[in-house]
């Protein structure tokens, strides 16, 4: 069949992403092992193709490679990518990301979907909070908006589909879940995820020069804080509109 490699799989698969980019698919769907391969590929490409690469965007199962058309062309970069990717060994996948702990004030005043998630999943609000804080999440992708990290995977006990009608405005710092994913809204924006609480941790603040401490491959753990702690850390208690 076409596109088969000598390993007998369809991956890595290189596909055009425009006149100045190629997208590399490392596998299908959402899994830690595929995402680890994406990261390993990103690291290798960054090291070995730094003379022509302008930007790299790792996601769940793919890596976008933006390159300088004045220094290379598509056939050449495809060949170099194939070479770089075929040299990857399983050892390259074993690097550990950073671990981040993010405080969350879980309360209905700032987490208007807590009660509904509890009801949908036949449990109490405390159970929802417990399930959300027990898990250690992986940053699978960053994007959509600056500093927005897609974290997985949410415990099956509290998975809830996106809202049918997205809210017009979600306050910055809102902690949310959608199916198996959880995230913090780094800035105020419209959004359709279920809001369960709010953090005082800034994940995007152009005025202070912070884009985000998070990178794909990092680990994130949430822990519950009281209203007093949340306010002390500079948290915004304004109710969600």
């Amino acid at each position: 069949m076409s596109n088969s490699t000598n390993k007998g799989t369809d991956f890595p698969k290189l596909v055009s992403a425009g006149a100045d980019a190629v997208i590399v698919y490392l596998g299908e769907g959402i899994s830690v092992s595929v995402n680890q391969q994406v990261l390993a590929a990103a690291k290798a490409v960054e090291e070995q193709l730094s003379d022509v690469v302008l930007d790299l965007v790792p996601s769940y199962n793919s890596l976008m490679v933006y390159y300088d058309v004045l220094r290379t062309d598509e056939p050449e970069i495809r060949e170099r990518l194939r070479k770089t990717l075929s040299d990857l060994t399983s050892d390259d996948q074993e690097q550990n990301g950073k671990h981040h702990r993010i405080p969350v004030y879980y309360d209905e005043s700032v987490g208007p979907d807590l009660a509904r998630i509890a009801e949908t999943n036949n449990c109490s609000i405390d159970d929802v909070i417990k399930a959300h804080t027990e898990q250690i999440y992986r940053v699978y992708a960053m994007g959509f908006a600056p500093g927005f990290a897609y974290l997985g995977e949410v415990s099956e006990k509290i998975r809830t589909p996106r809202l049918d009608n997205p809210r017009k405005r979600i306050t910055a710092g809102s902690v949310a879940i959608a199916e198996s994913q959880t995230a913090v809204y780094p800035s105020s924006s419209p959004g359709g995820w279920n809001i369960i609480g709010r953090t005082s941790t800034q994940l995007y603040d152009p005025s202070s020069g912070t884009i985000s401490p998070l990178n794909v491959g990092d680990e994130v753990e949430f822990y519950a804080v009281s209203k007093e702690q949340f306010i002390e850390e500079g948290g915004d208690t304004e109710a969600l509109s």
């Binding site: 055009s16 425009g18 897609y150």
Partner: protein, 317 residues
């Protein structure tokens, strides 16, 4: 210094864009019509990246307190300096105290106003490109567009000889453009009917278009496969949401997305698409990636665009 009297519907500072932060979710920004932008800088012997003002649909007015040389390209607007009528797509001298005024665009959407040496605006993360959605860039660094009484500085420069863009290089924004599509991303997963519809049917630019995306209306494009896991989205990517009406992602696009994509617009044609007014018809045609790449290379070489210097050490910090 130049003081804004009337910013019109929307005016914002743009340089060529912010490169190297896509992996953090920060988008590129920059002029949606790179062709018109680069011509304005070239007319003034500016660096390709010198900051200009992108004016949406005209209606802009500003006063200068020092002598300088300017150029206006892009959408067709009536241009006056005090009472004197000026031509677009050429450089012109401005004396201290004079007022530059733009009428409303009769064709095209974005007007570019450049000053010799470029407007001096503090860069944020390597660029002063205004991205309002990301709250970054622009005169105050916070992504806000320009407003009345804002003052923009520039370095006074020696006057230079008059230059204008030859007629053959000037686009006619009223004409129905034929825009190149480089097949890519999920192209092979789209049914033949969708691939053919996009390249053989007429599409209309809708009024919901903005710097994030040009929204089209026309024959709906079918896509049978399951939804995608979010992946990178390039400037020019042709995204097809559930209703089948394609959206061409522009410079303020989101960096990741989960909608299937038919491919990417030839960057050389993208500026022409950006200049289509709501209701205007556009046609698409397949183009080989290799051909588009050669065009892009010549385009960058002609305007002396150097992107590597832009990204610097930002790459995956």
């Amino acid at each position: 210094m130049m003081r804004i009297i009337e910013p019109g519907m929307r005016s914002a500072v743009q340089d060529f864009g912010r490169f190297g932060y896509l992996s953090k979710g920060l988008t590129r920004g920059g002029p949606v019509d790179e062709h018109a932008f680069l011509w304005a800088n070239r007319l003034l012997n500016n660096d390709f990246n010198a900051a200009q003002i992108e004016v949406t649909l005209g209606g802009f007015e500003a006063e200068f307190d020092s002598d300088c040389q300017c150029a206006v390209t892009g959408a067709d607007v009536e241009l006056t300096l005090d009472d004197e009528r000026l031509n677009n797509w050429q450089n012109f001298k401005v004396r201290a105290g004079q007022r530059l005024k733009m009428g409303y665009a009769t064709a095209g959407v974005r007007v570019y106003l450049a000053v010799q040496g470029g407007f001096q605006v503090e860069p944020k993360w390597g660029s002063c490109a205004t991205v309002t959605r990301d709250a970054v860039g622009g005169l105050y660094g916070d992504g806000s567009p320009l407003k009345a009484d804002d003052e923009l500085n520039f370095n006074e420069q020696e006057f230079q000889i008059s230059r204008r863009v030859g007629w053959t290089y000037r686009p006619n924004y009223e004409k129905t453009p034929v825009i190149g599509l480089i097949p890519g991303f999920q192209y092979d997963a789209f049914p033949m009917s969708a691939r053919e519809a996009f390249c053989y049917e007429d599409y209309e630019v809708t009024k919901d278009s903005d710097r994030m995306g040009i929204r089209l209306s026309g024959k709906a494009l079918e896509y049978d496969d399951e939804g995608l896991v979010s992946e990178g989205v390039n400037v020019g990517s042709v995204q097809v949401p559930a209703n089948g009406q394609p959206i061409i992602m522009m410079h303020d696009r989101q960096t990741l997305g989960g909608y299937p994509k038919l491919g990417t617009i030839n960057p050389f044609d993208l500026g022409r698409l950006a200049q289509c007014q709501p209701g205007q018809t556009v046609r698409f045609t397949r183009i080989e990636g290799k051909v588009a790449q050669q065009q892009l290379r010549r385009f960058y070489q002609f305007f002396n665009v150097r992107l590597a210097c832009q990204a610097g050490d930002n790459l995956r910090s």
